[in-house]
């Protein structure tokens, strides 16, 4: 079994927690890293499902459904985002149930392609249900994250970028914890067994479809949560934005870049690629940034075929 050295991970987390206190003025970096945490959460959600060997191209559907459900609850009932976000994410889980039933027999490339097609279903419905979802117009003016009182301390999650950053960081760390549990537990090894050889897993009495569905439901809830947060951070939803294929590809890129099946892989991927693009490439090369981004991806894959996380110190195996 693997017992990772906790030191680098702990140091990394500490760094993420402490830096805003040391550089309190760097609001734009808090902004970018906050969104990075959000996308890392999405990537971690994707990774949970990928642990069963499934490469999904449909996670934008969960993201979008979470965003829209939360937005609609907020718009029609004026509930606080603190309530609508966790509730709205359940819409993604409902979709995941259909997914788990419909795609039971699909594996590999076919599953990926089917999930890609599945994205169209919520997208087109939301886009065309004008009376309820406002269709292509989207919904603007959603409530921002409210201020909350924590132990006598007033934190404005909507306006104070630092507070928002800590909220998103916290949610990301929860997702990391969930990934950690799902990799280094009996269940995690069950998922790994399914991923490596489904026949052998079944021969050991593992109900692969059920375990895969469990992972998918967890994954969809996290992805929905990320979508719902996104809607309220930006204050708007629009079908083309939250059901965007780019949101399906992003977690894939972060996970493979960082190293899938490793707890910190998706986080590393997100924390390298997104800030690199947002803080360096876009300001430096307003026109050619995507060329550089593409080159970075290509070169990294050639140098780190197992993802960046493979570079992290790894503890020797103990028996």
């Amino acid at each position: 079994m693997r017992f990772p050295k906790p030191l680098p991970a702990a140091a990394g987390v500490l760094l993420l927690v402490l830096w805003p206190l040391i550089f309190p003025d760097a609001a734009h970096i808090q902004q970018v890293l906050g969104i990075t945490c959000l996308y890392a959460t999405l990537a971690l959600a994707w990774n949970l499902y990928a642990l069963t060997g499934a490469i999904s191209l449909g996670h934008a559907a969960f993201f979008g459904l979470g965003a829209y459900a939360s937005a609609l609850l907020n718009h029609y009932y004026h509930w606080s985002p603190l309530l609508t976000i966790p509730l709205g994410a359940l819409a993604a889980v409902v979709f995941a149930v259909f997914w788990a039933m419909g795609f039971r027999r699909l594996r590999g490339v076919y599953l990926g392609l089917a999930s890609l097609a599945a994205l169209e279903i919520p997208k087109t419905i939301v886009d065309n249900w004008d009376r309820f979802t406002y269709g292509s117009m989207g919904i603007m003016g959603l409530d921002r994250l409210p201020s909350a009182t924590l132990g006598g301390l007033q934190v404005d999650l909507g306006m104070d970028l630092q507070a928002q950053y800590y909220l998103l960081l916290g949610i990301m760390l929860l997702a990391v914890l969930l990934n950690l549990k799902s990799i280094r537990s009996r269940w995690g090894w069950t998922l790994r067994a399914i991923r490596e050889n489904e026949t052998a897993a079944a021969a050991l009495g593992i109900a692969s479809n059920r375990e895969r569905a469990k992972a998918l439901l967890l994954s969809s809830y996290l992805a929905g949560l990320a979508g719902a947060l996104y809607a309220h951070i930006l204050g708007l939803v629009e079908p083309g934005l939250v059901f965007n294929l780019h949101l399906s590809v992003l977690p894939l890129v972060f996970c493979i870049f960082g190293g899938s099946t490793k707890v910190w892989g998706p986080v590393l991927g997100a924390f390298i690629l997104y800030p690199l693009e947002q803080l360096c490439l876009l300001p430096l090369f307003p026109m050619g940034h995507s060329a550089v981004y593409g080159l970075v991806i290509i070169l990294t894959i050639f140098f780190f075929p197992q993802g960046i996380a493979a570079w992290l110190p790894r503890a020797p195996k103990s028996a």
Binding site: T190, A193, E196, A200, A203, G205
Partner: protein, 255 residues
């Protein structure tokens, strides 16, 4: 309930299987008392693997039924059969390629939902079974890097770790050296003495000769002879079945 005489572990009744218009199994019936080692021989295409797949739930029979300790298990899924204590190995070993040999065996000890052992207990079990198949020194080697014969042993240790009551071994000794076959036979005999029931196929005869209590000879989907291995090995029908299929001679086919 106290069993009178040996309990029947596996009973196969009138199994039929067709692929298109081709009959693969016709009315195959036999029963396997608990604690016995039953061998199954037959030339390629005799239907051994199909029979195995039907018993272990990987294929559906077109007719007939299978009973496991008195319970009908005819259309159970492999996963349910495994939970009930019916384990098998495959001709092409089904293991977890990225895991080490030891981790593979650990999966067998740790994951099966019916037992839910503690992790430390499962580790002990994994050590035990891996040493039983003699691969303890290769414990850290990724399974995919092992030679095929050793992959079979890993798979054997893995399914043994699930603590089955009946174990189906599909050509487990293929590619083994004579010494390895003898060691394996000794190990299997010991397992039988501990109460495990075994059903083995063998394309050749070497393992069955060593260890089987009784052997069924299958040809073109039918049991043609059964008896102790020593009696079967030179039985004219068995010999002609093997030779006939091998040479593909038409006159043998008509006989």
């Amino acid at each position: 309930m106290a069993a009178q005489g040996p309990q029947v572990c596996l009973e196969v009744r009138q199994i039929k299987k067709y692929f298109g218009d081709q009959t693969v199994l016709r009315d195959v019936s036999f029963s396997l008392p608990a604690g016995e080692i039953l061998g199954l021989i037959g030339p390629n295409g005799a239907g051994k693997s199909t029979l195995f797949n039907i018993i272990s739930g990987w294929q559906k029979a077109d007719a007939g039924s299978v009973f496991f300790f008195g319970q009908e298990i005819t259309s159970w899924t492999p996963k349910d059969l495994s939970r009930a204590g019916l384990a098998r190995t495959f001709q092409v070993p089904q293991i977890f390629p990225e895991m080490s040999a030891w981790e593979n065996v650990l999966m067998g000890a740790w994951l099966p939902p019916q037992s839910r052992p503690s992790f430390s207990k499962a580790q002990e079990e994994a050590d035990h079974w891996l040493s039983l198949v003699g691969l303890l020194e290769l414990r850290h080697t990724p399974a995919r890097d092992l030679p095929l014969a050793q992959q079979r042993l890993v798979e054997l240790a893995q399914v043994l770790a699930t603590r089955p009551r009946l174990l189906l071994l599909d050509e487990i000794a293929a590619g083994f050296s004579l010494g390895a076959v003898k060691r394996l036979a000794a190990g299997l005999a010991k397992l039988r003495d501990q109460g495990l029931t075994l059903l083995l196929t063998d394309h050749l005869f070497n393992l069955l000769e060593e260890v089987a209590d009784r052997v069924l000879a299958l040809d073109r989907g039918e049991i043609i002879v059964q008896g102790p291995p020593a009696a079967l090995i030179h039985h004219p029908d068995v010999v002609s079945a093997y030779l006939g299929t091998r040479c593909g001679a038409a006159d043998n086919g008509e006989a």
